[in-house]
């Protein structure tokens, strides 16, 4: 960075003439380029979304009417288990990591990630892990069916042999996540262009910085939990074997100490994406920027002390239930602040409704509904009724699908023209949006009613009074699933061609990424952006 201007120019020319991407498949196998790695993460996420989505559709098809029509109960349980693991670890998390790989270096003006080769390894661990996760379907006794939460002893001593493969897959995905998190943290802290103050970083980068630390906290705990399952199975450690003095509830404590931060790992970067898009299409600076960042920090802190709200019915002492009810309710405050800030950002803005904004708005509406049901679930006496019913299924899908997934899709619509240099077919994008947003509610809203009426989760067959809700959900889920094919078609179309866009296809968008050509050259910011550029693209550049 201390090079003179001349040598920088030489350097750039050198890069351009000799260091373009490799040709063919080796480019992808060996690449250490953050954009290539980011692309691969996104492709993997999309593949996993389809695989997990097909599982979901088989589940919904079986639940279309009472009685068993398609699956044996054990296979149904394998589907629900694998659907959860696939969507969390192979669709949502890699989707967000892919966006971070692409955008964090561009947003902080770095020429690549801090450890480019580690970045390559972190990605390439995932495809083998995916195979190990899914291979259970082809093993005797099938894939594990104990739920993605892997509760002992159902997922230890009572599990089929394929659980060992799932545990190893989780270990590999965990290592990949930890390396990815370290890489993102270091890129932000060590490679941020010198004129960008920490507090002036774009919100997407900010949320990922905090998420990085949360991953470092949470993933080792998951590794501990599944290792204990493994040693219970094979080394006779009996951590969770009641008959030998162990305690099955201990597993739940460890698991949810990972599991609750995990849901924030999936939502914080989503907050970041929405915080980029709402100001861009309101043409107005983000309201309460500092409080947004503090809210994320507060949520992160609280996320580590609420885990037992997943366990209100296991027989905890009443004092513990009171404590965890309070900490859980507290999360509503920073979360509320974020939603109010987004609304205040739009207030008296000059709004337009291109695809990224539509998805961000759907996120705000629907994630808030997920937040409402979350607040209701925090209330222990009512939770004794809600717990383990479809009310919870509705809640978690409102926060993960219309929360995390919608934000990822919003982010793709926001940055796709930057990545490809082409504007997508906006009519097709509108179709995709409206079909998705209607069908996702047709799918998940009736689940609230099914749960309140008393339908337990994770059952392949159900009493007659839940039939209407389930039929509606199933119809919605198929429309939602098929609508995503439009999205894939749109992305492929946009990669292959389309109207050329300039550096800044969205006139209200701010950030260093919009100072680069679209698509950006293979190597970017080999010359750091100027102080003035950093200032103009930062939060103080509006005046």
């Amino acid at each position: 960075m201390s090079q003179t201007a001349d040598s920088v120019v030489d350097h750039i020319e050198h890069e351009h003439s000799h260091h373009g991407p490799r040709k063919g498949l080796l480019r992808w196998l060996l690449t250490v380029n953050h954009k290539d790695v980011g692309t691969m993460y996104m492709v993997l996420a999309l593949v996993a979304l389809l695989v997990g989505g097909v599982m979901a559709l088989v589940i919904r098809a079986e639940l279309f009417q009472p009685g068993l029509q398609l699956t044996q109960p054990q296979f149904f349980n394998s589907l629900t288990t694998m659907h959860g693991l696939t969507m969390i670890f192979l669709a949502i998390m890699p989707g967000l990591t892919g966006l971070a790989n692409w955008m964090v270096p561009l947003q902080v003006g770095a020429d690549d990630m801090y450890w480019p080769r580690v970045n390559n390894w972190a990605f390439w661990m995932l495809p083998p892990a995916a195979i190990m996760l899914w291979i259970g379907f082809f093993m005797p006794q099938g894939a594990p069916g104990g739920g993605w939460t892997l509760y002992a002893p159902l997922s230890s001593t009572y599990a089929p042999p394929s659980i060992d493969w799932v545990i190893m897959a989780i270990h590999i995905m965990g290592i990949s996540s930890i390396l990815g998190a370290l890489n993102i943290i270091l890129t932000i802290l060590k490679m941020r262009t010198k004129d960008m103050r920490l507090w002036d970083m774009p919100l997407f980068t900010w949320t990922w910085l905090i998420t990085g630390f949360l991953l470092l906290l949470a993933m080792p705990v998951l590794a501990i939990a599944v290792t204990m399952l493994l040693t219970d199975r094979h080394l006779g450690t009996n951590f969770f074997e009641a008959a030998a003095g162990g305690d099955p509830v201990l597993f739940q404590h460890i698991f949810w100490f990972f599991g609750h931060p995990e849901v924030y790992i999936m939502i914080l970067p989503a907050f970041g994406i929405v915080s980029e898009i709402v100001p861009a299409f309101s043409r107005k600076p983000l309201f309460g920027r500092t409080s947004m960042i503090w809210a994320v920090i507060a949520i992160t802190f609280l996320s580590a002390i609420v885990w037992a709200h997943h366990m209100f019915t296991v027989g905890l002492p009443v004092e513990a239930q009171v404590l965890f009810m309070y900490t859980t309710m507290l999360i509503a405050i920073p979360t509320g602040i974020k939603i109010f800030n987004w609304v205040a950002t739009m207030w008296r803005g000059s709004m337009t409704f291109e695809a990224p904004m539509l998805w961000a708005l759907a996120f705000i509406f629907l994630f808030t509904i997920g937040g409402f049901s979350g607040l209701m679930l925090a209330d222990v006496p009512a939770d004794y009724q809600y717990h383990d019913t479809y009310f919870v299924v509705a809640h978690l899908h409102y926060v993960v699908v219309t929360g995390s997934l919608f934000a990822i899709i919003a982010g793709i619509y926001y940055w796709l023209p930057k990545w490809t240099g082409h504007m997508y077919n906006s009519a097709l994008a509108k179709w995709h949006f409206w079909l998705s947003v209607i069908s996702v509610n047709v799918t998940f809203f009736p689940m609230h009613f099914a749960g309140l009426a008393g339908m337990p989760r994770r059952i392949p067959d159900y009493p007659l009074q839940f039939m209407d809700f389930n039929m509606i959900s199933t119809v919605g889920s198929f429309v939602f699933g098929l609508s995503q094919l439009l999205f894939i078609w749109l992305v492929i179309q946009t990669i292959r061609g389309g109207k050329k866009v300039g550096n800044r296809p969205w006139d209200g968008a701010k950030g260093l990424e919009w100072t680069l050509p679209s698509p950006p050259p293979y190597h970017t910011f080999t010359t750091p952006p100027s102080r003035q550029t950093v200032h103009e693209e930062g939060p103080h550049g509006y005046h």
Partner: protein, 378 residues
Amino acid sequence: MWKRLLLALTTLFTAVGAAAQEGASAFNMTRGVTEISRDAFDMHMLLLWICVAIGVVVFGIMTWSLIRHRKSRGAKAAKFSENTAVEIIWTVIPVLILVGVAVPATAVLLKTNAAAPEPDVVVDVHGSQWKWEYVYPEENISFVSNLASASRDASQLNAEDNPADNPNYLLDVDNPLVVPTGKDVRLRITSDDVIHSWWVKELGFKRDAVPGQFNNADIRIDEPGTYRGQCAELCGSGHAYMPVVVEAVTPEAYEEWVAQKQQAAAKAAEQASAPYNFEVAMKQGKNVYESACASCHQTNGKGIEGTFPALEGGKITTGPVEGHMKIVIHGSEKNPVMQAYGDKLSNRELAAVITYERNAWSNDTGDLVTPQAVEAAR
């Protein structure tokens, strides 16, 4: 514009309000039949209305902004990005709302968890894959509550019976839990294998059945009636097939039922001490089979393809008797779902059920397994 909005809101409110008053609406939580369930329902409705109110305000402001502040209407973007007063207000108001929720929630929670000083009836509830066992230690009664066969037959893949013909499909059992009305009943809930969860929504709570611990729940039901629920914690492939049915009857009827159960138990004990021969073994074996084995292998012995092996014409049930005794006594090495029944059943019960399995349906080995043989195989 305002008028239209108002009209839409009134329609919405009256619809939801009507549903709320109905209580037993198919769209909402039940009010139930215990104090706990009524408290849970009230908490639920309080929260629901708070969420609706917040939603109306937040979404209302947002929608207003989406309509008024669009570029196509010529809106020019303001520059502001902070307002300390507003930010303090929207932090303090949620805090107040939360305190307003937390106070009644804590009170209800403490009340719900308070133990009755001296319960009138105690029942130990054992969850196991995939049935509930109810033990009344003071009355010396115990029985297994299995999914009723009508539901079981209709629940098979490609079943001939139509689930829709049974109004209590998947909610009916052979032996319900019977409790007296107006009395404090303490349930001590535990599990013999994996975690289950005992739930009847009309009673207002679910409590996990965890191996190695007893979770107590005190209930007091005022209205006689039959209340139905299901296992709420994923417990394996039969999770959907272990309903909970509670019959609340008057104290007099309850006494009668206890006497009846005790008589039946005495009769069973008599049967169990009758001289052991083939006929007696088959009779006793059938009873044991239906309470311990039928939930997986089915009453007709055909099992469930791909999940539970058929015993009719099965390799083990028609093969060497040693192998058959081994798997029943010690469980399956390959598949933990087939538990070891050596600790759960007596030698004579084991001998009877193995004899039954080897001679029921079209199985026709003619073998009579004796309690002595079982003892030797332990």
